[in-house]
């Protein structure tokens, strides 16, 4: 494994220039109070939200602490209780559809310099959240987010 230490202090993806993704604009809901969101749902179901959210959501509370480092996340497995599933969403103040998974498998990696190939095993914990959320700006928005 070779780490690129010159990349320390890197710029996270959300602050880089947008080169690969197309931002189509926010689907922010004007001035929406969370308490009234339920009444908006029928209208939201008819709206077009194919754009990409531009206001970030806020995380759920502290979940697990791998290596003693608290993070805002519960893995789908093992189930920690008291419910029969762990909190699937990564974002709080959220009302919508969620998906989460833990899967494993295998694949092939290629060194692009030597063209040598290597077999790898993988674990993927991915998911999505799609619906209403209260963003960092304290306003209610609709957005789709991937957990990667």
């Amino acid at each position: 494994m070779t780490l690129n230490h010159s990349h320390r202090g890197h710029v996270h993806f959300w602050t880089r220039p947008i080169t690969r993704r197309t931002f189509l604009g926010s689907a922010a809901l004007a001035g929406g109070a969370a308490a009234t969101a339920g009444a908006w749902l029928p209208q939201l179901a008819k709206a077009d939200f194919d754009g990409t959210a531009t206001v970030f959501p806020r995380p759920i509370g502290i979940g697990v602490a791998p290596f003693g480092i608290p993070i805002h996340h519960f893995p789908p497995f093992p189930v920690l209780g008291p419910a029969v599933i762990n909190e699937p969403s990564q974002i709080t103040d959220f009302n919508g559809m969620v998906g989460i998974c833990r899967v494993t498998g295998a694949g092939t990696g290629t060194n692009l310099s030597t063209h040598a190939t290597t077999r790898y095993s993988y674990q993927v914990d991915n998911g999505f959240m799609d619906g209403l959320y209260v963003g960092e700006d304290a306003k209610t928005h609709h957005g789709t987010f991937a957990f990667v």
């Binding site: 990349h7 998974c101 494993t104 694949g107 990696g109 290629t110 674990q123």
Partner: protein
């Protein structure tokens, strides 16, 4: 999305994720186009498909959690959830989330690109499901709605 030279959990060499958001701690979560995800809870299906999504390669979990050195990377994937159990209503008043959920099987095909490296997963049919869920959820200020 983690790669290992040995069995899962052994010899991790790649850890692709978008990073932990500064200031809030939002964990490995990034916006995607609204049509990237599809779902039909009653029929027990969902999907998530993205192409060339910007990520960081932190190479291992600990390095990712401490926001250590990383390489720019990207991933593309298509994954499908298929319910394997009936819908169930769940309310967890400790963690304050509630909703209707279904346990699922998931299949995925994915690729990753990092400096001087390209990865292609085996076909989706070879995916081993550990634990997967889809559902409709409310939490936070919506918990008591």
């Amino acid at each position: 999305m983690d790669l290992f030279t040995g069995a899962v959990g052994t010899g991790q060499v790649h850890d692709f994720n978008p990073g932990i958001r500064d200031g809030t701690g939002l964990f490995w979560t990034q916006p995607v186009a609204g049509d990237a995800a599809t779902f039909d809870l009653e029929h027990g299906t969902a999907s998530l498909a993205v192409e060339d999504l910007d990520e960081e390669d932190y190479h291992n979990l600990h390095n990712a959690l401490v926001d250590g050195p990383s390489d720019p990377a990207s991933v593309s994937f298509e994954m499908r959830w298929q319910a394997v159990a009936a819908p169930m209503n769940v309310t967890d008043s400790v963690h304050r989330f509630t909703g209707r959920f279904r346990l699922c099987d998931v299949q995925i095909e994915w690729t990753a690109d990092a400096p001087n490296f390209h990865f292609v997963s085996d076909p989706a049919s070879t995916t081993q499901n550990v634990r997967s869920v889809i559902g409709r959820e409310r939490n936070g200020v919506f918990f008591d709605d």
